[in-house]
Symmetry: C2
Subunit: 382 residues, 2 copies
């Protein structure tokens, strides 16, 4: 009891606990990080075991830290379009879109998944920044009639090749027909949910958005009871797999100092649509001038990295710093060190050779295509 209270006090009241916190504690979570003012499980002891569970079977991950910003009201569709450079005119109710939220300068404020729950009802499922404050700030002088709040919604991710079978066993065979980046509203044992075919793993997978935080433990237990016999493991988002997939991690790989063009996401910037959005003029200017740096994939030579990078690692050609590695890890599947980072435009061609100043000494770096691993099943686009 005394130890439990000490541990409780160490977690404190400053950082929120997820509705699945008790469940991940029971399952032996050994390390948390903090994201959107909330704890996220980041280790159950062995990141490679978690990776193999994800790519061979399926894992259940507490991603409640993906907080939602809910935007409703008569002008909601207009308001949401104002927040993002992606053309949303074709976005249907029941559809998700991966979008950037940009500043007036074209800087990336967040890269959420947008869910359209109704003609004028949206969620932004967030990366790590207070978009609630951004959106409420933008509203102040906008003269648009919208309500903006954080609803009681906490997502789980169920990801991996066996996820479809598990989801069908849990929710019904209709999950077979759920297309990539589509969602449905659903109730399980009276627990209100949104179920989407989305995720942050580069594998086949789903997200289950809990809409009543009081039911977290009940939902978790139900999912594990059905899923475990079908190959479901308790897990956490996999650094190895997401770097293999070339997926962006906000803050780690990019900040408000970066723009969508240099991150390689021209596809999500529709400068020619008639609707106005925040950052349009700045992004036009950036497109016309061309970017100064690019987000690229790299291979790192030397022995397998014992651990992912804990700092950004400078990359040099000769004496000149040409950029930095933002994410680096050893992939046990590819049997090499893989990395993501941002390099000067003059040095970002595939095949470029450089040196990285790493925690393991100076290592050889080669620019390579990304993603590093791209199974057919993960190619679907939305």
């Amino acid at each position: 009891m005394s130890d439990a209270n000490r541990r409780d006090a160490e977690f404190g009241c400053q950082i929120r606990k997820s509705p699945f916190f008790a469940a991940t504690e029971r399952h032996g979570c050994t390390g948390y990080s903090v994201y959107n003012h909330m704890y996220i499980p980041r280790s159950f002891g062995d990141p490679e075991a978690n990776f193999w569970h994800l790519v061979n079977d399926a894992i259940l991950c507490d991603v409640s830290v993906e907080r939602q910003v809910e935007i409703t009201g008569p002008d909601a569709a207009r308001f949401v379009q104002m927040l993002t450079p992606r053309d949303l005119s074709s976005c249907e109710v029941g559809q998700c879109k991966y979008v950037f939220i940009t500043s007036a300068e074209g800087g990336i404020i967040n890269d959420p998944v947008l869910l359209r729950l109704g003609e004028n009802h949206f969620w932004l499922s967030l990366a790590d920044s207070d978009v609630l404050l951004w959106a409420k700030g933008v509203q102040i002088h906008s003269r648009l009639d919208v309500s903006i709040r954080e609803p009681d919604v906490s997502p789980l991710q169920l990801q991996g090749p066996r996820s479809r079978d598990i989801m069908c066993a849990l929710f019904g065979d209709w999950v077979q027909d759920l297309r990539y980046y589509r969602f449905v509203e659903f109730e399980l044992d009276g627990i209100p949910l949104v179920i989407s075919r989305t995720g942050w793993s580069s594998e086949l997978g789903y997200e289950i958005f809990l809409r009543d935080s009081a039911r977290g433990d009940a939902l978790w237990q139900r999912i594990m009871a059905v899923g475990e016999p079908l190959g479901l493991h308790v897990g956490h988002t996999s650094t190895i797999r997401r770097i293999e997939g070339g997926m962006l991690s906000y803050v780690t790989d990019m900040t408000i100092e970066n723009n969508p063009f240099e991150m390689g996401w021209e596809r999500l910037v529709d400068l020619d649509m008639s609707a106005d959005f925040i950052g349009k003029a700045a992004l036009k200017a950036i497109r016309n001038a061309g970017v100064r740096r690019r987000f690229v994939g790299m291979e790192i030579g030397g022995a397998p990295l014992a651990h992912p990078n804990g700092q950004h690692w400078p990359v040099r050609v000769g004496e000149k710093v040409i950029g930095k590695i933002t994410s680096a890890v050893y992939s046990p599947r590819l049997e090499k060190n893989i990395a993501l980072g941002v390099l000067d435009i003059a040095h970002c061609e595939v095949g470029t050779q450089a040196k990285a100043e790493t925690a393991y000494g100076q290592l050889q770096v080669t620019v390579v295509p990304k993603p590093f691993f791209d199974p057919a099943k993960a190619i679907a686009t939305s």
Copy 2:
């Protein structure tokens, strides 16, 4: 080296390290929390020792997590006034003000210390929320000509009764004359600083704002070299002392769901000034209707709490929940358990008896005046 790299990897790249991170590591920091996307030292082993260092001698605390939002440009003064209900018309260059940042609904977005560096040059020294995004969002349709950014500024706190002598030894006797909530710009060994008589401790104290993150270790070492013989200890913000002082901790004690009136800070809301600010109409309505709950001090019966609360603890009268304890700790100086929290207006009179559901069982609660401890030296107001 392998262990160092593992530790480095556990800290990761998602959460920023302060310019004083290496220094606090060397001094044996045993626990960090996360605040404004950055690590903050929260323990060097014994919170009571840290408390006594603070109230008897002086402590140096890394509070780089108090990130700054810098607002400049021809309309900066007008813009900053728009962000806060406190009348800033009397705020001089070189003066600080404790302010609330409020939403259109009158909710508290942050409670920073404002520093006026020039007629149209301000810093907001933040509590734990992305006010950079809030302010940049507000700017979008404001038609005001301002620049808003996070400058390279990282504060230290030097707090405690011996802080003045240490500051004089470090910077010169002029510090004697630095009034409460005033600051000066200063250079030490070519390191650019802002030095203010502010802090989050309820003790005599100063903040030293480092304006060049590359110089963090040099500044830290210089301060400790001069300060240690004069009684300076490495420390961290003291939960015990700040609860004794009745100081608010954003997120822990209040969120955007709370307004300044219920937190007891009518003094910082100037509804009758001519200038408009965000939340004015909502706050007028709240004032006229009266608040539904109040932030109060409480004593908790029973044995000394072994640890601070790790959850909000519900407070009941009979079966009815009348509010919650947000912050609770045993004060070794007062030799009792003291707490802060929010109670229904009908149950917040001094002397009210209630029960709290705590990690240590059901305990008797009595509403008492706050602050719990208020030495003359800490009474100065600004």
